[in-house]
Amino acid sequence: MNDRLAITLNVNGQSYPVTVEPRKSLADALREDCGLTGTHLGCEHGVCGACTVIVDGRPVRSCLMFAVQAEGLAVCTVEGLAEGEALHPLQRHFWEQHGLQCGFCTPGFLMLAAGAFEADPTIDEAEMIDVLSSNLCRCTGYQNIAKAVSLALQDMRAGV
């Protein structure tokens, strides 16, 4: 169990050489070995979705994936969502629409919506809301998350 493996993770376009136990989850490796603590752990059993990241263009629960499985794949975390100072449309609309309160579930929702759009750029609003039902938020009652994602979807389609 303690035999560690040397792997390279590709996260947000950067290479992270890490040495991890085979049992280590991608979430733990991102947080502990890459220092990317924006990916949060809410349940560690694949229900809450706070740990959602994008792996090769699809949203993935990083608590249910081993770090070693991510070798050679492109991982995107919340830290890679904005382009420098410019917030991603999802981040901008979450801000303007008050789509977050405590902020703990927020990276998971952002990456879920961004990943769902990346996987299917033709996704419509109803399908997107259904996708969002895979994550939990305890603060917002989802009202403003739905608003923010709908507005961001329009911007993402328009390429704004």
Binding site: T37, G42, Q101, F104, I129, S133, R138
Partner: protein, 771 residues
């Protein structure tokens, strides 16, 4: 520029949106980790704790110098029970921490913990609330032979006469099942020992950092100055993170003992098993009504399962005593008799959860009004109209004083907005197609922003309530507001920045709010009980007004005017009626660096204020429209409307967000979430696959109408709004289900109203009809 009343996007958000927030687990990366070994049984005697050779396990014996958590109520009907940080002889609930191990990494600590064997001889536990009250029930604690830890009793002199003269007596037995506040971030702490000054800094996911430091210092027997507690970004609390938990005491003890950095980040299972539960309540009530539907008298037997121990500092009195004091809610109750008991069992300890007791007491009063209306052949809106309080200040039979509100007006606005006659037509038409629609309303009061008098009245030995704020304008003209409150998602930094920006004529982005750090903020109580905007807001207003007065004095001197002529606005001090002005930053610099020019600058541009209000009542009316599938028992919420009166809105967007989130938790309370123990005291719902918080698909669009009664009970005109959504939603939904199932004559007296319970109610109604 008026910043109050604007939906300013939050100052807190950019950091959180970029993933740059600092939650406690983010600060644990280089620390050793501890893992608790928890009792697998609900009750038993500890015979031994066995560890493999070479594994260090910490047990009660190691913590022999550490005190017990023993919160006190100064009332004769309270039995104080002590909770050891680690028990030496007996365990009292499944999940109780019995020992701990430490390793360099969290996973390694978990591996070690699995090798520890707890030799515990199981005993028959007491799990159920009413079973614990039976005369033959085994005591959970020897100090409380009947399992009652706290009991409130009162009876007004005219109660018997009220019942004797009643046209109708309505009786109800209601049950609220146990729930978890379930913040998205679990509990956790990182304790760092500093060799230089021998201080230990605890970063912890908590709502009351100053209180936690006091509790830790008392239990560890050290000066408070040896400890620093910091609440960094906190991923939700909802009351669960108010209490002093044994795990934090163990963590700080270990950091001091090993002189190294140690972390404890609990997993979701631990959070469900061993943090805190709430809402496990049973109410039996009788209401005496006259023929016109006026509530003449109310008699209640209120039982709350408070679990294994008493939570610190608010004690196990929090649910039972709030139920006792506030049951009459928004109604004129002339005569009142109540007995309210906090009952201890071998289950996880009860602690506050958003709404505390009021979801259940609102359900009780709203079911009572509906039943009375049916019995007396009155319209359910009309019976409420006749009973709602309508003159202010109103004094309740338990001595609470209600400030001005809009109880009847809010209900009328809600009823008008949903167009009740149109709904009744839709309902009748749907019924012809075999579809069951229902509409339910709930009117309630929400006691908010209460200071020390309210807590003192409960008999608390530690009396929370006031807040202090330290407001300083630095030489660059920027403000620092250091607050004792400790927000964890509410957006308080933004709302307070708006408030003080108006006092000082600056923009909110020039205001930095510092909270949650015992080294950098004045002693205060934290964020809970819908209090921060009212109390920290009031103190902020007072402190910033003092700084504004100093600014005016300096400006008057610099511009050769009188203080009364100076207006602070747009970043300038202006002499009214002239074109003379000076930037506030220049006045700030002069006050710091040219102070020899000014007299009476005592305190300079750093001022502290203290605020301890009596409290205020917000009010609201919720309306739910539902469709019940009578074949499956499933409930679909078609519409949800809130008419809310929380006084002046400082940031309407933030207020709406509080209502949204509160209603979602209320919907969860009404329909979905339930902590279930088996008869042996094993928690059956210790994962998110078993405990079911609603997702986006279960929460309907929430419509909000605001009313703004400006009461003089608060300095800012704002009342609290944090808990109302949670308080009112269950009653509205349950009433809607009962309305939908009226053709069956079904009563729903238990929350959550799961499909199973609704089907059982329909079946039993059908069987009764066939008999």
């Amino acid at each position: 520029m008026n910043w109050i009343g604007r939906s300013l996007p939050r100052l807190e958000d950019p950091t959180l949106l970029r993933g740059h927030g600092h939650y406690v687990a983010d600060l644990a990366q280089d620390a050793a980790h501890i893992r608790f070994v928890r009792s697998p049984v609900a009750r038993g005697r500890i015979l031994g704790i066995e560890a493999p050779e070479g594994v260090t396990v910490y047990t009660a014996a190691d913590l022999s110098d550490v005190g017990q958590i023993r919160p006190v109520l100064e009332r004769p009907d309270y039995v104080a029970v002590g909770q050891p940080v680690l028990p030496s002889d007996r365990v009292c609930f499944a999940g109780q921490a019995v020992a701990f191990v430490v390793a360099d990494e969290a996973a390694a600590a978990e591996d070690l913990a699995e090798q520890i064997f707890l030799d515990i001889e199981p005993e028959e536990p007491v799990v159920d609330l009413d079973a614990a009250l039976r005369p033959d029930a085994v005591p959970t604690h020897p100090e409380a032979p009947g399992n009652v830890l706290v009991e409130g009793r009162m009876r007004t002199s005219g109660l018997d006469a009220a019942f004797a003269g009643a046209a109708a007596v309505v009786e109800l037995d209601l049950r609220s099942r146990r729930q978890s506040a379930m913040p998205m971030e679990t509990r956790g702490g990182v304790a760092r020992y500093d060799q230089r000054d021998r201080r230990t800094t605890l970063h912890a996911s908590v709502q009351m950092p100053h209180m936690l430091r006091t509790g830790l210092a008392d239990l560890l027997g050290c000066p408070e100055a040896d400890l620093r507690v910091i609440a960094p970004d906190v991923g939700g609390g909802f009351g669960q993170k108010m209490s002093l938990f044994p795990e934090y005491v163990a963590l700080v003890w270990l950091a001091r003992h090993l002189k190294r950095d140690v972390a404890w980040i609990e997993d979701r299972r631990e959070n469900f098993l061993a943090s805190a539960h709430s809402r496990d309540q049973a109410f039996t009530v009788r209401g005496a009504f006259d023929a016109q539907g006026r509530l003449l008298g109310l008699e209640a037997d209120l039982r709350s399962n408070v679990g294994a121990f008493s939570c610190y500092p608010v004690t196990c009195g929090v649910e039972p005593l709030m139920a006792f004091a506030e049951l009459p809610g928004p109604y004129k109750v002339l005569e009142y008799g109540a007995r309210s008991r906090g009952v201890t069992t071998n289950t996880c300890t009860m602690a506050p959860y958003r709404g505390v007791a009021r979801p259940m007491l609102t359900l009780t009063m709203e079911r009572l009004m509906e039943d009375a209306a049916r019995r007396l052949g009155l319209d359910p809106i009309e019976i409420r109209r006749r009973n709602l309080i309508d003159s202010f200040p109103h004094r309740s039979p338990t001595g609470l004083v209600y400030d001005a509100g809009s109880y009847i007006a809010a209900m009328e606005a809600a009823v008008a907005a949903v167009d009740l006659p149109a709904f009744r037509r839709r309902q009748a038409e749907a019924l012809t197609q075999g579809r069951y629609l229902g509409l339910g309303i709930s009117v309630f009061s929400e006691r908010t922003g209460y200071g020390t008098p309210a807590y003192a009245a409960r008999g608390m030995a530690i009396v929370p309530g006031y807040e202090q704020v330290d407001c300083a304008l630095d030489p660059s003209g920027h403000l620092e507001l250091r607050i004792g409150a400790s927000p964890h998602g509410q957006g308080l930094a933004t709302a307070l920045a708006q408030l003080v920006a108006d006092e000082l004529g600056v923009v909110p982005s020039q205001v930095r709010v510092i909270s949650g750090d015992t080294d950098r903020t004045p002693y205060g109580w934290g964020t809970f009980a819908s209090r921060s905007m009212v109390i920290a807001g009031g103190a902020s207003k007072l402190a910033s007004a003092k700084v504004a007065a100093k600014l005016r004095a300096v400006a008057a001197c610099l511009m050769e005017a009188t203080e009364a002529e100076i207006d602070l606005e747009g970043g300038l001090a202006r002499v009214r009626g002239t074109n003379r002005s000076t930037p506030i930053r220049e006045i700030a610099r002069a006050a710091h660096h040219r102070s020899h020019l000014f007299s009476d600058l005592e305190g300079g541009l750093r001022q502290t204020a203290f605020y301890d209000p009596f409290g205020t009542f917000s009010n609201a009316c919720h309306v739910a429209e539902v469709e019940v599938d009578v074949d499956t028992g499933g409930v679909r919420i078609e519409r949800f409307l809130v008419v809310e009166d929380a006084g002046r809105l400082i940031n309407p967007m933030i207020v709406d967000g509080q209502i949204h989130g509160g209603v979602a938790q209320g919907i969860a309370n009404a329909l979905y979430e339930e902590m279930i123990y088996d008869p042996d005291g094993n928690l059956l719902t210790a994962s998110l696959a078993d405990y079911l918080p609603p997702t986006i698909n279960e929460i309907p669009k929430i419509e909000i109408i605001h009313m703004e009664t400006i009461s003089d009970a608060t300095l800012t005109g704002a009342k609290g709004v944090g808990e109302g959504g949670t308080i009112g939603a269950p009653a509205a939904i349950v009433n809607a289900i009962v309305d939908a199932l009226a053709p069956f004559g079904v009563a729903i007296n238990e929350t959550p109203a799961t499909p199973e319970r609704i089907r059982a109610a329909i079946r039993s109604a059908r069987e009764n009809r066939h008999e």
